[in-house]
Amino acid sequence: MPKPQRHNSESLRIHADVLVLGGGPSAAWAAVAAAESGAKVVLADKGYLGTSGATAPSNTGTWCVPPGDNRHAVVDRRWQRTGELADQRWMLRCVDTAYQNLLRLSEWGYPFPSEDDGRLYIANLRGPDYMRFMRRRVLMAGVTVLDHHPALELLSDGDAVVGAAGVARQVGHDWRVDAGAVVLATGGCAFRERILGGTGLTGDGYLMAAEAGASLSGMEFTGKYTLAPYGSSLNKGLPFRWASFHREDGSPILGPTGEPLRNGIGDREEELARALIDGPVYARLDQAEPALQGWLRQGQPNCFVTYDRAGIDPFSELFRITLRAEGTVRGTGGIDIVSDDCATGVPGLYVAGDAASREMMTGAVSGGGAVNSSWALASGWWAGKGASTHARRWTGKAFRREARPLGQAGLRPSAFARADIAAAEVIEAVRGEVTPLDGNFFRTGERLEKSAERLESVWRDVRGHLQGEGADRLRSREAASIAASGRWSVAAALHRAESRGMHRRTDLPGRNTALAHRLVITGVDDFRIAGAPGRLAELAS
């Protein structure tokens, strides 16, 4: 018999200097940084700090560039691949802070593996171990951790963000934290694709930030997909670096030069996407030498758990594969940053990790595989420091004035609640527009126009009529956040009348030099999209 839920009518209310929302690496680093500078910190996560988010179930390579003259060359080489949208100053400051934090991890005793010469190899962080370790550091720093406390909305006093409110989903009561500053570290939007870490990544931070008046950018860059065994959650491309690929009739899938494809990652995802639109595709990891097979098995154990449980020997047998949509998680879009301390332009609101736009780091290409985890290490640090500095300046003020909750869609319908508008159906409708390979991996103006129309109609229903009760408010809020994210993404994709990086317009295959700048979106119900040429130059000065 299930335990009776402690339906506590008394809600939890806490005061803090800094409130961090999220429980992935960027939240953990923000909390540690803020606590280190003397702030009283509360961290509220939708899930459990240690297992939630995209890093915990994975094995993340970082972008680890030691100091020295070579840094500029490494950054310049990477910049060449970003579709001209990244900014070398940000890339340099990110590798610098990320490197310092990797050294911090080693000083704290994180069990890194060693190179053959005995030196620690600090460029890779095994997800479950790393996040468990970070949980302990966060607690040791004196942070109050609230697990299973998803935020539903931000609070504002009219001038600044002064806290957030949500639901304690395992006990059934509401919570509210009044704070001098808030860091949004709520991750990306995976559009409910069944990928590692995907369930809780619903773009909640984007909607909360936009309601507070912050802007978003890079939302059109949601064309990143990663290979996975068919039906699995294992969106990890690395093993497919050493594979061959075949159609149903056994014929090999060919690369751009007409040779059979032997590497299915990076740009080669394009041939596989085309083949998958035509029909089922099978792979075999037959390009891996025996030593490499052992390392893959030991270094990517969750991939092999999947094969073992399905009874497949992936090195000798063909198995069916799929491309998993990754939304903004391995895409680049998110909340626009306006200053070096990761401020959003709304006083009191800071952003870190995948919740932020990563365009200045990785432009129009994916930052998965190295850049994103270094960005979480660095931006978390800056946002935590920035928030605590802001909180110090605002001490006292935040609690004297009336705080107003800002949440709209999914919480406070603009018309009247309708029982027939359900969260699950809203999510399915959005998925139909933003996840198919034929439509989102490969895009056309015509198809995007149709998607935009359908998403407008979904949004009208959501905004006018979607409302949850009690703990179900989380479900309706997640659906609203997914709908908002999809709507922004499609609108930005339509606006970007060219192809660039992961934004592939088959009707407009080339780059348009007039669009070599970021697209910034402001607003929720009525939003506007503005090109931001010269914006990064402004930030630099």
């Binding site: 018999m1 299930p2 335990k3 429980g23 939708k46 899930g47 459990y48 240690g50 297992t51 939630s52 988010g53 915990a56 179930p57 094995n59 390579g61 994180y110 069990p111 890194f112 593996p113 060693s114 190179e115 190899y121 460029a123 890779n124 095994r126 479950p128 171990d129 790393y130 468990r132 370790f133 299973h148 395992q170 069944r194 590692l196 870490g197 995907g198 369930t199 809780g200 065994p229 039906g231 699995s232 959650s233 690395l238 670096r241 490499l292 052992g294 390392w295 893959l296 098995r297 030991q298 270094g299 990517q300 154990p301 969750n302 092999f304 758990v305 094969y307 073992d308 449980r309 399905a310």
Partner: protein, 108 residues
């Protein structure tokens, strides 16, 4: 997806209820936790490695249950296999110092 909570292996510590990031389990009054929201499972396998007695089994298919039984998982020695591959034991972390991923990245 999460499919099995083995009542024979479970010691009713409710750790899985706490650590599952998607809140799939409910604790019960007098027994093992139950899978209350299977549809929310993100097939991350993390509950398995936090369980001190290897009492949980997450099948590889993420879109819906496969119907595997406890006897089948037991016969194929699947309980605890992810924890063993990582080097975690009885719910405690371990093994990251032996991760050979840097060799894979060099080969790449």
């Amino acid at each position: 997806m999460i499919e099995i909570v083995s009542a024979t292996r479970c010691v009713e510590c409710d750790i899985c209820v706490k650590v599952c990031p998607t809140n799939v389990f409910d604790a019960t009054e007098n027994g093992a936790p139950v899978i209350a929201r299977q549809e929310d499972c993100q097939t991350c396998f993390l509950c398995e490695i936090y369980c001190p007695t290897d009492a949980l089994y997450v099948a590889e298919f993420a879109e819906g249950p496969t119907g595997i039984t406890e006897a089948q998982a037991e016969a194929r020695q699947l309980f605890g296999s992810y924890a063993r591959a990582l080097g975690w034991k009885r719910g405690k972390a371990g093994g990251s110092e032996f991760d050979p991923t840097h060799r894979i990245r060099v080969a790449q």
